[in-house]
Symmetry: D2
Amino acid sequence: MFRVAVVGATGYTGFELLRLLASHGGVEIGALTSETYSDREVGEVFPAFSKVISKRLQKFDPALCRETDLVFCCLPHRTAMNTVPALLEGGRRVVDLSADFRLRDSAVYESWYKTDHICPERIGEAVYGIPEIYREKIRDAKLVANPGCYPTGAIIALSPLLRAGLIRSSSIIIDAKSGVSGAGRKADLGIQFSEVNERFKAYGIATHRHTPEIEQELSAAAGGEVRVSFTPHLVPMTRGILSTIYAEADDGADAAAARGALEETYGGEPFVRLMPAGEFPNVSQVAGSNFIDIGLTLDERTGRFVIVTAIDNLVKGASGAAVQNMNLMLGLPEAQGLAHPGFWV
Amino acid sequence: MFRVAVVGATGYTGFELLRLLASHGGVEIGALTSETYSDREVGEVFPAFSKVISKRLQKFDPALCRETDLVFCCLPHRTAMNTVPALLEGGRRVVDLSADFRLRDSAVYESWYKTDHICPERIGEAVYGIPEIYREKIRDAKLVANPGCYPTGAIIALSPLLRAGLIRSSSIIIDAKSGVSGAGRKADLGIQFSEVNERFKAYGIATHRHTPEIEQELSAAAGGEVRVSFTPHLVPMTRGILSTIYAEADDGADAAAARGALEETYGGEPFVRLMPAGEFPNVSQVAGSNFIDIGLTLDERTGRFVIVTAIDNLVKGASGAAVQNMNLMLGLPEAQGLAHPGFWV
Amino acid sequence: MFRVAVVGATGYTGFELLRLLASHGGVEIGALTSETYSDREVGEVFPAFSKVISKRLQKFDPALCRETDLVFCCLPHRTAMNTVPALLEGGRRVVDLSADFRLRDSAVYESWYKTDHICPERIGEAVYGIPEIYREKIRDAKLVANPGCYPTGAIIALSPLLRAGLIRSSSIIIDAKSGVSGAGRKADLGIQFSEVNERFKAYGIATHRHTPEIEQELSAAAGGEVRVSFTPHLVPMTRGILSTIYAEADDGADAAAARGALEETYGGEPFVRLMPAGEFPNVSQVAGSNFIDIGLTLDERTGRFVIVTAIDNLVKGASGAAVQNMNLMLGLPEAQGLAHPGFWV
Amino acid sequence: MFRVAVVGATGYTGFELLRLLASHGGVEIGALTSETYSDREVGEVFPAFSKVISKRLQKFDPALCRETDLVFCCLPHRTAMNTVPALLEGGRRVVDLSADFRLRDSAVYESWYKTDHICPERIGEAVYGIPEIYREKIRDAKLVANPGCYPTGAIIALSPLLRAGLIRSSSIIIDAKSGVSGAGRKADLGIQFSEVNERFKAYGIATHRHTPEIEQELSAAAGGEVRVSFTPHLVPMTRGILSTIYAEADDGADAAAARGALEETYGGEPFVRLMPAGEFPNVSQVAGSNFIDIGLTLDERTGRFVIVTAIDNLVKGASGAAVQNMNLMLGLPEAQGLAHPGFWV
């Protein structure tokens, strides 16, 4: 039985990790940290875990993680890069759910996140944590940069199409829609119930920080620089991201070729499901699960592919991917603790 | 054309007052105050009012209200009693939407609100603002204490039954359910979307501050002390309060007598609707309107009346009642600006 | 006082028309028809109208409309074209909220709606009911084809940009998101609460029937054939449509020119609001109102305009536009009964 | 490995059973029936089960269940009693989720359900499926009548208090609030999204069919006839039931005694959690789990206990209880497949 720690356990990704780890079977929880709720039982803070997880929350101290095989770092960006180096120096392997180690170019990070990167020398060690693309590197990584929720929903679908030269790399538009849990667990008037319910808006138009992350990975797939239009929206629901993606078919590309590229790449993947032709996913079908579901069509009238992907932003978009990465890093079966279907929300 | 001011215009009751006043026809807006959003156009803060209301928000100063005939005070309790006396001294008439002047006994106020009352001498001047009960006093009042949302939903239905001796005054249970806007417009983790959506809970059990307000008015109706069980709940919707009320039928009382008492009392009221026997209101049917709808049955198996009332907590439960009170105070037709139906939410 | 009739008064557009007409002041309701709820008071069917509108619903018969100046036809497509000719022959003027008279080419109608058009000779009489574009024709029209909800949200924003040659007409993508009331008022498992709540999906991808309507009007603006990618989505909310629109800037076009074209076209319009640079609308700010709000930016990184529009699908997208058309047809002030702000949903 | 069948697998309780059985580990699915979706893969009907459960739905035929150890019958009442006898005669053990075998007195059934009972002779065989009360009888039962969702939320909390003589049996009021999935999976205008969202209502006041089921079990606990006031409400959320229960303290009873009675009865139960004094459950904390959480206080001002219970109506209120009953019947560990925490909805 491996031992793991969760640093920053009382946000939504922390909650979700606890839910997944509680039924995992291959790991036990060694330490849970929280600055806000320290010295309280996790079951007091989240009554859902009463009689399920018996563990006291503690203020973070690297020493708490000493006896663990792996640490999940669920802190916000900027805070994470202040914490991760000490864990690595102590010999811990880390899955970091923040943005701090995702971008390979610290200048890009600093430009989009408006802050200095305090340990750019660590960026080179980090493996970008999409197992469907970087599986072998993840197995040996000391530091996995768990991908952003929006990037996950876009990169997995688009990479095989770019690699196969089926879409024009300058034509990509990602119109994404997220549940409110993606904004994090915090007091903020803008995500108050009466300010979100029965509402719908776009935000971060042409400026959202997940843009460079998407472009970095799509450029790698395309073998050349890719720029995308990315527009996130806020949906009055708690969980889930639906991404509607538009891209012009390259000369000679058709729907069969595109489906073929996805099937060939992902046919053996445990958590990628390509929907039958003519069907498109609803975020509900992946709620609570680690699946990413993909639907695709070619609109012959306009020559554009329309691709729709659905993930649960807290699972495949965060904590489920983190557990999948952990399984790879610890040599456990990749799907352990993640093989359950979603739930009817 | 009368002139009115709204002090604290950028909370939910402030928004709702602006919505009602914008179409009122008999008053114009003389001043709007906001500590948070001062020096901004109201249409910038609430884009719904762009091209509708052109008025700049200002920090509160009693001098701003000097040229107005009436001031709506939409400040939270404790803050209101620091503001209202200066307005009264300046000769303004005030409709105060806070709790500070509703309870006739300052000791009761201090016990439930856990704070000293700084101007108990003003309490005697205040008229409790339910027009269906205190219409004549309201006409001449300098200070109207606009009732709480939960009390409105309970008192209007129960008073005629108590006055007619049809229910046992010791048996009253009010199980009330409110939309989230009742919690006010503020950053607070507990009312964040992802903490309220797909959830349901009771709160303030046996301790909610609207209890003494309900008891004060029911005691007046019964001619003796009444104590009630009152339990509020939080519903994942923005607006509306449904109150399910249980009371034992007194000897000889039956459904016909109870319906008769309500019809006799409210038959001529513009904003009270008694539903046909066997029908009960949904909060949706009063959304956006100033109506209170009442359904009633006698459960012969248990000898208990079950009474259901529905109001929009922001209209009949707050700003609509405030406008109705204003109309009475200014000698305008009582239903002016309030005669529209609700909207389909 | 003019007299109007509403044929098919118990769907959502019927409800909304009744709400608007109840406070209009310039018209009275002459007849209301419903096949499902005939012989019942409107206040029984919709308790929100109790004590507000006193009128009995009747089964449709052209004779019911004989004494009216104008008829709103709120029937579904196919049914409408069976009803409208009789009304026109009886001398009535008609605002038809269905799709049956919107497409000028009956072959296009038949291809997208999979049904024969039974009175193609009437199509030429119909004026497409966007007052911001066809105001003068509407004044004299016998038959106004009230536009579809999605088309309204796209055409008003894009037409001036196409007319001014600021965007490439082959590059338009309209990613639209609608509340559930757009699906109509009917028993249908797919729009049951537990099948929509906490969900999000695209539907009708590359096949939605509003596509040819959008293309017809954009082609007219561009002076040449325009084809668009149009993808509607279902949002777990009742009302509202947000349209996120992407279009490549034509050579030399910039954000200032685009804003200028919109300001010039719509600066004097009562119901079009262009948001300040950097701001984009939320559907909540138009809920219940007849406004269309527009935000626009040019993403310099990709050379694409991103335009966001918000309407209430039941008001500017249906019944509000219908009342605006009625006002024009009857010679009433265009904004009468529509000048109120939206409500906080 | 035991084999089980699910008859009526495509409603909400069917979906939930499939979700629980997919991760159970001790049983395999032998047959799934559906009249509506026969001959389709379950993963086509519910894409959440794609790559998780591979099984074709079939029209019901008792022969399909021949090779199974236990059958879950998820049919509506009336239909169930036409199906269960054939299964029993074929030697199958049955957990029936309908109401048809819950009431011991067929006359009571016929009076509340307005239909004849076609096999009253089978009622005596049925064991009422609350393991916390009838555990030993369930182990040997051929037919378990799985309890109603509302009764579960009331009976588990009240039985120990009645048995201990701590509350007045004539004073019980159960004000219950349910998510919409409780209404079943069907096309019905009344549960359409736009008819439920942003709404709240009571229904079945003094007439709901779960009343006699609650009274039957409370009478058994009290050792004498108990009549209750029971009022269900519809909450705009998918899952969960919160029951707010009022009962007068009997002479000498206090909060400590009541908590003691609950602790003594349920301290060792795997799925009952008594909350700390002063805390009350939110339905969210049991979402997706088989727990029932109970909070209790004594309001000294009125002499009434206020008890709040929360369950997931589809789990502890239906399919989770069914699996718990199955575990007992098959000699499996009682908590197998049910030990996971809930999910953040």
